[in-house]
C-alpha cells in the first residue's frame, strides 16, 4: 500500500517541503489501475506529449506509467496529496531531475514532437524554452536588475545595454513589479518582500521569453494578498504562455487552471476540465480528495 519509500521523500523533500497533512483514510490501491487515467488526458494541439512516463529513485517508483498531453496555451494544474509525485513529474518537463543522481526517467517525453530526454538534446536550449518558478522564492543575491538580466545575458539575447534595459523593463512590467521597483533596480533582491521576490522570479523566468512556464507550488510561501497578486498574474500570462502549475490549494487550481490533473501515489488518476473535476469528478479517489476525505 504505502509505496512512498523514504528514499523518495528524502530526495524530494529538498525541493518540496510540503506540509504533510494527516491521511485520514487510506484508500484501497486496488481502485487504481496502473496506466489507466479517467477523463481527458490527451489534447489535439499538444505542446508536451508524454507517454508511459516512469520515474524511479533507486528502487522506488515515484511515477507509474503516466501518459498526458499538455495543450498549447493552457493552464493545467497538478493536484494530489503530498508525495504523490506531482512535483517529480513537473521537474521531468525541463529535466531539473538531472541533478539528482539516482533519479531515472523512462518513457517518451516530447516537447513540440522533439524528445526531451534525447541523448543529443541540449538541456540549455530546453530550459530556455521551458522556464520554471519554484516553491520558495529564490532570487539571486544580486540587484533586482541583475536578477532579471541574468537569463538574457547568458543566452545573449541583448546586443546593447538599451536592449537589455528594455527586456528587463518589459519582464518586470509583465510580472506586475515595475511600478514597485523601477526606482530601485540596483537594490539587492533579497531585501524585497516574499511576494515581490516571487514575482521577481516570475519576471526572471519571463525575461528569457520561454514558451512554457512550470510553477512548483509558487504561492505556498506567500501570504493571501501576495498569492492573489500572483494568481492574477498567472491569468494574464496564460494568454502568451503554456503554464503547468503544481498546487496544494484546490481553490487555487479551481481559480487559475483550465484543466486539472489528479495524482495519487505516483499514478495519474484523473484529468478533466477544471470545473468538471471540482463539480463532478469521475473517479472516486478524486472525489475523496476534493471533498477532503484525505490528503
Amino acid at each position: 500500500m504505502n509505496t512512498i519509500n523514504p528514499a523518495v521523500t528524502s530526495e524530494a523533500d529538498q525541493y518540496q517541503a510540503e506540509p504533510v497533512a494527516p491521511v485520514r483514510e487510506q484508500p484501497e490501491e486496488t481502485i487504481i489501475e496502473e496506466g489507466k487515467t479517467v477523463g481527458r488526458p490527451f489534447a489535439d494541439n499538444a505542446k508536451f506529449k508524454l507517454r508511459d512516463v516512469n520515474v524511479s529513485y533507486g528502487d522506488t517508483r515515484a511515477i507509474k506509467n503516466i501518459s498526458l498531453d499538455v495543450a498549447k496555451n493552457e493552464v493545467i494544474a497538478f493536484i494530489g496529496p503530498s508525495g504523490c509525485g506531482k512535483s517529480t513529474f513537473l521537474r521531468c518537463l525541463n529535466r531539473m531531475n538531472d541533478s539528482i543522481e539516482i533519479c531515472k526517467v523512462t518513457g517518451s517525453l516530447q516537447l513540440d514532437d522533439q524528445d526531451i530526454y534525447d541523448r543529443r538534446r541540449d538541456v540549455v536550449e530546453l530550459r530556455a524554452r521551458v522556464g520554471m518558478v519554484f516553491q520558495k522564492p529564490n532570487p539571486f543575491p544580486k540587484s533586482i536588475y541583475d536578477n532579471v538580466a541574468y537569463g538574457p545575458r547568458i543566452h545573449g539575447l541583448a546586443n546593447r545595454k538599451s536592449d537589455l534595459d528594455e527586456i528587463v523593463e518589459n519582464s518586470l512590467r509583465k510580472a506586475g513589479l515595475w511600478g514597485e521597483v523601477k526606482d530601485r533596480l540596483d537594490a539587492t533582491a533579497t531585501g524585497m518582500s516574499g511576494g515581490q521576490q516571487q514575482r521577481l522570479c516570475i519576471a526572471r523566468a519571463i525575461a528569457v521569453s520561454p514558451e512554457v512556464i512550470l510553477m512548483d507550488e509558487p504561492c505556498s510561501a506567500l501570504d493571501p494578498i501576495a498569492t492573489a497578486r500572483v494568481e492574477e498574474l498567472m491569468a494574464e500570462m496564460s494568454e502568451s504562455y503554456t503554464i503547468v502549475i503544481v498546487t496544494h490549494s484546490m481553490q487555487q487550481a479551481a481559480r487559475v487552471s483550465n484543466r486539472t490533473a489528479y495524482f495519487h501515489l505516483g499514478h495519474l488518476v484523473e484529468v478533466n476540465e477544471t470545473n468538471k473535476v471540482f463539480t463532478s469528478p469521475e473517479h472516486e479517489l478524486t472525489e475523496s480528495y476534493i471533498t477532503g476525505r484525505f490528503g
Binding site: N94, S99, G131, F134, N138, G151, I154, C201, A205, V208
Partner: protein, 462 residues
Amino acid sequence: MQPANLLLLTIVLSMVAYGLGYARSRSLAMPMGGIRYLKSLPFYYGARAALWCGIPALIVLGLWAAFQGKVIQTLVISSLPQEMLPASEGRASLLLSKISNVANGSLPPGFAEAPILEAAERLKALREQSRLFMSVLVVSVSVLAGFLGWIRVRPAANARTQVEAILKWLFFACAALAILTTVGIIFSVALETFRFFQLIPFTEFFFGSQWSPQTALRADQVAAQGAFGMIPLFTGTLLISAIAMLVAVPVGLLSAIYLSEYANKKVRSVVKPLLEMLAGIPTVVYGFFAALTVAPFISDFAASMGIDASSQSALAAGGVMGIMIIPFVSSLSDDVINAVPQTMRDGSLALGATQSETMKKVIFPAALPGIMGGVLLAVSRAIGETMIVVMAAGLAANLTANPLETVTTVTVQIVTLLTGDQEFDSAKTLAAFALGAMLFLATLLLNVVALKIVRKYREQYD
C-alpha cells in the same frame, strides 16, 4: 600522602557519596510510594552529595598544593641564623636549591655547612608535616561535606536545580581556563617584549632593514654590534606566504568547486578524504620533502636554465607550504559552497545556465565572502608555519623579493634565537619575544578580519 593520591582518594570518596546519596533518596522514597514523590530524581541527590564531597576538598587541595612550597621556603629561610640570611632574591633561590638538594639527598651532607644541614632537616620535617596536614584536612573536608550532602537528602529538597547551577559554574570554569591561558600567554610575551624595547629602540626594530642578532656577551668580547630590524624577516615571511597562497588558493578553490559541484557521490567519497589526508602529514615530513627533494630540484632546474638559484630557496619552502595548505582552503571553501542553498543552483539552471555559468555567476559570488574568510585563515596559518621554513628556507636574513634566493622568516628566527643555552636578559633572546608578539598580532588581526567576513556572510541567507 602525595597530592595525586589524595586526588584519587577524593574522587573515590565522591563516588561513594554518590552511591550513598542515591541509595538514601531511594530508601526515603520507597515508603512514600516510589521515586515520583521525590522532588528530584535519585541521580540528582547522588550527584549533589558527590559534588559536595568532591568540590570543597579539591579546592582545599589545590590551594594547599599551590601555596605550601612558598610557605615552607619562607619558614626555612627565616629560621636560618642571622649571618646566613641571603642578601638578594637570587641568593635566596640559590640557597634554597642547595638546602633542598641536601634534603633530597642529591648533595652529600659533607659538602654543606652546619646551618644548611640543619635547615635541610627542618625542610624535610616541614614537608612531612605539611603533607600530613593536607591529607587530614582534605579527607576530613571531603567526608564532612559529603556527610552533610547525604544528611540533606530529603524528599522535599530540590537537588536538581542545585546540581544544574553547580554544573553551570563547572562548565564556565572550563571555558574560563582556555581564555585565561590565552591571556597568560599574551601577558608573558608582552612583558618580555616590553623588556626588549627597553634595550632596543622601537624605530630600529620596526624600520631597520638589518637583522643580525649576535651581540657581545661580555663587555670585553669582540663581536658585531647586533642589528634588530624586523623588516627582512617580515618580508621573508610575506614572500613565502605569498608563494604558498599562490599554490594553495587556486588549487584548493578549484578542487573544492570540483568536489562540491561536479564530482558525483562516489568520486567525492574517495577524493575528499584523500585530499584531507594532506593535512594529516606532519609538517616535519613536509619540511624534509621541501629541503631534500624540492629545493635541489628547483636549484638544478634553475641552473639548467642558466639562472642562479640558491639551494635553499623561498620557492621551495613556499611551494611545499602551499601544498600543505591546500586541504585547508579546499575544505573550508567546500563547506561554504555547499552552504549556498540548492535553490540558487536550481534557479540558475532552470533559466538555462550551464553548470559552469551557474558556478561562475551565482554560486561563486554568493560564496565569495566565506571563501575570503577561509583564505585569510589559511594565510594566518602560513604566516605562523614553522617547521617547513626552518628546514627549507634558511637563516640568512636577505631583504629580497626574488623567490629563488634564500630568505628567512619570523618563525625561523624565533626558533634559532631560543634553541640552545640562552641568557634571559640579552636583547638577542628578548628579540624572540618581540617577534612572537608581532607574529601574534598579525595572525590575530587576520583571524579577526576573517571571522568578521565569515559572520557577515552567514547573515546573508538568514
